[in-house]
Symmetry: C2
Subunit: 281 residues, 2 copies
């Protein structure tokens, strides 16, 4: 007699984010890279970030929900097993501070740090609230067709409907802005949670490609995600589309920064994000 | 015979950022809180962030200049001595990844983590570059008077010339935006470097005060600074004014985020910054 996996556990994102607690080592978890989220020379960074958050969510001592997450990509993960260490270094009344790292064995079997990070989780209370950056008025997701699947493997795990600033068709150096807007969600659709939201915050292709209309080597060095939504709000968003918006601010001597906002279809800001990205030439 | 301190070492910022290497403990530095940068219940967070960067700059194994810095305020520092630990966890060909922490003894003398962080330093090479967020056209600093010194002690260490969104005069709940623009520099003027720039990125008062025109308890939980300038560009900026711009994006259930940009008078983007801030009520 065989047991079917539940619909949720069979989603590729849930497969990619599966972690096993290491017995006798609090906060230590074993994971495996997933071929479905492979990028050019390592896993999609959004899933790496979500894996670190997963370790926090699995930790028995966790207080509250994600508030902020910073992930630094020190080196590309190679295919195979990795170890996450998540340490709650300080727990206050309503906030908890985490340090994070990913280790992988090198060719000689010695552990090497591939990724570092910090996070804050928090118990949130209802307060005066206001959105001060309204969602742009755009064509609804339902009125647009998703783009054909293409490129590196992880991109196929997302349904994307570009509104502005799609990946250039011709790399002719004519770019004049760095703003992308698109509707996006997991493919196949999966109910939104903090893990999926984290990965979605890193979906945007490198701004330098758009600004220059030139495809140069580029990779995220550090990303920060600020979570503005509660778990119930993510659950209510369900498998709906998110409007993602990203733009660069400064491209200077090998690195640019990017700011991003993610709203649900109801216009609620779920997360904001920033990253600094290496580029060549 | 007495020796006069050099002009630089007598600046309050340099006093506040003085660290002493702990013999036999690589990357460990002892510092002291400085009364000149005192906030309400601890030191000005910008100086705490700059102290962490100082530990990196003093570290004998450092590669390159600051690229990104994330600081998480886990608990207020108390007056007196503190210990910084700066660890270069991974050094690549042109980037280096750091983990950071500040420890202070609690009432029983046991070390407690007050602050965590990560940073990336990098060797930067000349590449194609462009500023994609031009400096707003504003009244030059020289045409404005600095505001009178006021409030908590650290504010007196900065010369500020507000252009837009000054601290409200009346707390009557009539706020309708969260954008502040001001010219700013150290007081007394001090040649700009990465340390001063880091602290300046945190000068902005809590956006929630402006958005609500209501003064509620608020404090930074986590700040990230991305550095876009080289050391030579900071040196060329000298004691000139910086245009700082900050705005909130989402105020939701006890936390808001803030994005900020810092340009020099010549219009060069020197740093961008983001933070997530706790607020009450």
């Amino acid at each position: 007699m065989s047991t079917s996996p539940s619909p949720s556990s069979s989603h590729p994102l849930d497969e990619a984010l599966q972690l096993a607690a290491v017995a006798g080592a609090p906060g230590q978890y074993q994971g495996q890279t997933h071929p479905g989220y492979w990028n050019m020379v390592g896993p999609f960074g959004g899933v790496t970030a979500a894996s670190l958050l997963q370790a926090i969510l699995l930790h028995p001592d966790r207080l509250g929900d994600p508030l902020s997450l910073t992930v630094n990509y020190a080196g590309a993960l190679v295919e195979g097993a990795f170890t996450i260490q998540a340490v709650p270094v300080r727990t206050n009344r309503s906030t908890q501070h985490w340090t994070l790292s990913i280790l992988q064995a090198d060719a000689e079997g010695a552990p090497v740090v591939t990724t570092t990070g910090t996070a804050v989780t928090a118990v949130r209370r209802e307060t005066w609230s206001v959105g001060d950056m309204p969602m742009p008025e755009v064509t609804p997701a339902a009125a647009l067709e998703p783009i054909a699947r293409q490129g590196v493997e992880w991109i196929n795990r997302y349904e994307m409907r570009p509104l502005k600033g799609p990946i250039p068709n011709t790399w002719d150096g004519t770019g004049d802005h760095s703003t992308t807007q698109l509707w996006m969600r997991d493919a196949p659709p999966r109910p939104l949670d903090f893990l999926a939201l984290t990965a979605l915050a890193d979906v945007f292709y490198p701004r330098v490609w758009l600004r220059r209309a030139r495809r140069v080597p580029a990779g995220t060095v550090s990303i920060t995600v600020y979570f503005h939504a509660r778990a119930e709000q993510l659950a209510a968003t369900g498998t709906g589309h998110l409007l993602g918006q990203a733009r660069g601010q400064e491209f200077r001597n090998g690195f640019f920064d990017q700011t991003a906002q993610l709203w649900n279809e109801a216009g609620a800001m779920l997360a904001t994000s920033h990253q600094i990205v290496y580029y060549k030439e």
